[in-house]
Assembly symmetry: C2
Homo-oligomer: 155 residues x 2
DNA sequence: CTAGGTGCAAACAATTTGCGCGCGT
DNA sequence: ACGCGCGCAAATTGTTTGCACCTAG
């Protein structure tokens, strides 16, 4: 438990250098708030909503406000540090995975799981070149996840 | 111009029988409002927001309220008469195309175009069966459409 | 007739913004 | 020291709801 620096911090601090440069590059100030907000999204690797991020940083930054979280998240998205996911019937979520990937969404528990899919990445609009310039592909498979499926059978 | 009954009405009235049955089946009343709201989505074949639908029915139903539009749209979705699309950074949109299909979204003009894609329909989560039960596949290609691309080059 | 539907206005929830002080650079 | 960023609270926007009257079946 006390072996060394906390695990979570270790992995994140490795990114600190990169983050610092990124901020510098965009002429942005690296504040404690921004750092913690970014950490809340990047360390977990999941898909928190703005509210959820707010909840996560409160223990560390008790005075932080929800609007600061919003502002920071939007700013991070602008500079490419995180990306946002919009899921049917739900509020906007954020994620640290900025590589091309796709989502499995459980319509019961609203859980989101990432998965890579080169086949989906490769798909182009029909009559290639006729539509315009494609920037990204995002495939969303909606359904019921394993654990919700198990619960339903019993309920 | 006066050749016959208005074109638009012709195609929609062909669906009237189907609509009527669908409503009956669900024990719903077919009111003038609902009919016009449904028409506003189905006749255009595009992807209007609730606000846009409201705007479209106002000329025909000057007293209709936005909340009636919302209620009707949600109800139509429930009974499968239309489906909803959620696009990044934008309000919910509705569409009459309830067959499996995918979307080309222009990030500049926010326009949405449908396209069929059997390849995308066939994609399954990795480690098949491990995630749960997939109900639908939706691929969203984001980019800049032809006409916005043309404008950008000039600007 | 009578339950379900409508319009109005108000409630709600998520997100955005104006403002004056504080802190990172 | 300067100016961006912060927290507060209030404004906006999209959507939902309670209620009394109305209308399709």
């Amino acid at each position: 438990m006390l072996k060394s620096a906390p695990q979570k911090d270790t992995s994140f601090s490795a990114e600190l250098d990169f983050i610092r440069k990124l901020f510098r590059k965009h002429g942005l100030k690296l504040t404690q708030q921004r750092l913690e907000i970014l950490r809340a999204v990047r360390e977990s690797g999941d898909h928190p909503s703005a509210e959820e991020v707010y909840r996560r940083v409160r223990p560390v930054l008790p005075t932080v406000s929800l609007d600061t979280v919003y502002r920071a998240l939007m700013m991070f998205e602008r500079i490419g540090a995180i990306s946002r996911v919009e899921i049917l019937d739900d509020r906007t979520r954020f994620e640290s995975n900025t590589d091309p990937h796709h989502h499995l969404v459980c319509v019961v528990c609203r859980g989101i799981e990432d998965f890579p899919c080169p086949a989906a990445d490769r798909i182009k609009p029909p009559a290639a070149g006729k539509w315009g310039k494609v920037l990204s592909n995002h495939l969303e498979l909606r359904g019921v996840c394993r654990s919700c499926l198990a619960k339903q059978v019993g309920g």
